[in-house]
């Protein structure tokens, strides 16, 4: 994957798609590609009630290597959790309600996006 120059592009496209579909549902994007030494959070949004949602977006162009969500291991999920707390601490938002969602995006050859969105996976 890393060798593929399109891979980074693909990820970006997927994140853009998720962000757009969430804003149309009335959510506010707080941060994108927030990066620290430990890793990166793809997307941080807030819903209407003020719950902060951290989203890991996984984009793939085919299922030949399995479902996009399958590549999110337990360790990875826990890393997202740690990153989420780091984000909250950095932004003085510790104590606010938050949850972690994942979005699996499959880009079909026709350019169509298929989104598998799961709330509160941890």
């Amino acid at each position: 994957m890393a060798k593929n120059p399109n891979a980074a592009k693909l990820g970006e496209v997927g994140e853009e798609f998720v962000a757009n579909s969430l804003t149309t549902r009335g959510m506010r994007v707080l941060d994108r590609n927030w990066r620290i030494k430990e890793g990166e959070i793809d997307l941080v949004v807030a819903d209407r009630e003020g719950t902060i949602i951290f989203i890991e977006v996984k984009t793939r162009s085919s299922i030949s290597h399995g479902d996009p969500l399958e590549s999110i291991s337990n360790e990875k999920a826990f890393r997202i959790q740690r990153l989420a707390l780091a984000w909250l601490a950095t932004h003085q938002r510790l104590g606010s309600r938050y949850r972690i969602d994942v979005a699996g995006i499959l880009v079909a050859r026709s350019g169509e996006f298929l989104m598998d969105y799961r709330e509160g996976v941890l």
Binding site: E70, A77, R118, G120
Partner: protein, 505 residues
């Protein structure tokens, strides 16, 4: 439908415990967790089931799959849960209807390709299922012969997961394999092959008639092993109920392949003298497997070179010899297996083996000789009713060939057993060796002369209380063989002789 439920059976000994399998498919990251103390085989089911479902053209739910086997505290083992778990996952993920799961009782291991593979313990599992009201079962094709023994169950055999699915969806049946008629077994051995040993054969005949344990002492090459190997050929064949019971035990141990599924031949099990206690009486931590003494149930357990066994090993047999069953306890489980066998022990007279006949050429010191047989403990020998000195046949015996065939002897044994069975018609036991002590002193006591002889020996302390009872049991078998109604002085004397190790008249 995100929840599916079905039942299965986990075996504990020969008894089946019902297990409820629940599968929940919920949102969340793709994951699979199996709850309810699975053993290694069962934990590996995840990868087998996943590959089997995908290779059967179905979808694996890429969601959080939780499989729970309850009761949760009971350790579960084996690969037979593969099929019911796979079908439950398909139901919970909406690929089968809820009502499909109640159409049958499922049993089988899955291969990655989606084939159904045979499992152990089918017979006892299905008996337990039948007793809980199951009427239709689905089993792997290779287990059909075994499952087909249970006449009151509708057995459907399939070789692929996809066939099971299409049966549940649309009722398409695979053609059941034809039940092979079990060929009449040709015995490998026959008593007539053993030259001489006339007295010993009579003693074996008495042992077979009454179910008595027997010890043979003799020099190497004198014929102990030959006699023992042919002992099961003079035992009456098993009836159907016994044959199913024996097959059930062998099915759990995975040794059914060596026997016909409904073999009526009494089993002959001969563990090597280097055996361990768990191998002999049964054991295992997560699932308890029957040992040699249970595999020999309703047959013969033969231990050659008995004094060579490590101390304590043979004594582990004392409890099953008394009770006819063995209960094995481990921290998490307790299992019972039946173990009613005739014990045959063979021993050399001394470490070098030549302390026989006139004792010529024996180089052992007298202390060595005494110590050698003392390895067989007193309590064990007390449970051995017949002791034989086996001596090499003479020149004359080796050149005559008029020995009786096993079949002739077996007919006499069956006749003697029939006489005993008639006498015990009102009782719960069938063999002379099983008469409880209290009845030996009342209803089943020898006549006055016989009792007088025994009482005299008891007074002189030449007979233990157990020896007293065992002698009476043996005298009943002698009486049955010779057509005497009640054992008298004659029969008791012969019983005492057989117990003390002198050859029978």
């Amino acid at each position: 439908m995100t929840l599916a439920r079905t039942t299965s059976i986990n075996l504990l000994g020969l008894k089946g415990e019902p297990i409820e399998i629940e599968v929940d498919v919920s949102n969340g990251l793709p994951a699979y967790s199996l709850l309810g103390l699975p053993d290694a085989t069962l934990s590996e089911s995840r990868d087998r089931i996943r590959a089997a479902i995908l290779n059967s053209g179905r979808n694996w739910p890429n969601r959080k799959v939780t499989v729970s086997l309850s009761p949760a505290w009971l350790p579960k083992s084996g690969s037979a849960f593969d099929l019911p778990i796979a079908l439950s996952i398909l139901t919970a993920s909406g690929q089968l209807k809820e009502s499909d799961l109640s159409k049958a009782f499922f049993l089988g291991e899955l291969s990655l390709e989606g084939n159904l593979r045979p499992v152990r313990g089918v017979l006892p599992t299905l008996i337990a299922a039948r007793d809980r009201g199951v009427t239709r079962v689905i089993v792997p094709r290779e287990n059909f012969q075994e499952a087909g023994l249970l006449k009151d169950l509708e057995v459907l055999a399939f070789s692929k997961l996809s066939q099971v699915i299409s049966f549940l969806e649309s009722g398409v049946r695979a053609e059941n394999p034809t039940l092979i008629d079990i060929p009449k077994e040709v015995a490998k051995h026959d008593m007539s092959e053993v030259a001489g040993h006339v007295e010993n054969k009579v003693a074996l005949e008495i042992a077979a008639a009454g179910g008595h344990n027997l010890l043979m002492i003799g020099a190497p090459g004198s014929g102990k092993t030959m006699l023992a190997e042919r002992f099961s050929t003079i035992l009456p064949p098993l009836d159907e109920e016994e044959a199913i019971e024996v097959s059930g035990i062998h099915s759990i141990a995975g040794t059914l392949k060596d026997r016909n599924v409904l073999s009526t031949e009494p089993p002959f099990i001969a563990p090597h003298h280097s055996t361990t206690i768990p191998a002999l009486v049964g054991g295992g931590s997560n699932s308890i497997k029957p040992g040699a003494c249970s595999l020999a149930h309703r047959g013969v357990l033969f231990i050659d070179e008995a004094p060579e066994c490590d101390s304590g090993i043979l004594d582990a047999l004392r409890q099953p010899m008394e009770s006819g069953s063995i209960t094995i306890s481990r921290s998490a489980l307790t299992a019972s297996f039946p173990a009613r066998f005739i014990l045959l022990l063979a021993a050399n007279p001394c470490p070098c083996g030549r302390f026989a006949g006139r004792g010529r050429g024996c180089q052992c010191t007298s202390l060595q000789v005494r110590r050698y047989l003392a390895k067989l403990s007193g309590p064990l020998l007390d449970r051995v009713d017949i002791r034989l000195r086996v001596e090499s046949p003479t020149r004359v015996e080796l050149s005559t060939s008029s020995a009786e065939r096993s079949e002739t002897i077996r007919i006499r044994v069956m006749k003697a057993r029939a006489i005993a069975a008639e006498r015990f018609a009102q009782e719960t036991f069938k063999l002379n060796s099983q008469i409880p002590p209290s009845l030996l002193r009342e209803r089943f006591r020898p006549n006055k002369d016989g009792m007088a002889l025994l009482h005299a020996l008891l007074d002189k302390e030449e007979l233990s209380a157990r020896g007293f009872h065992r002698t009476i049991r043996l005298s009943w078998s002698i009486a049955d063989m010779s057509g005497v109604n009640t054992p008298g002085k004659n029969e008791v004397e012969r019983a005492l002789l057989l117990r003390s190790g002198a050859p029978c008249e």
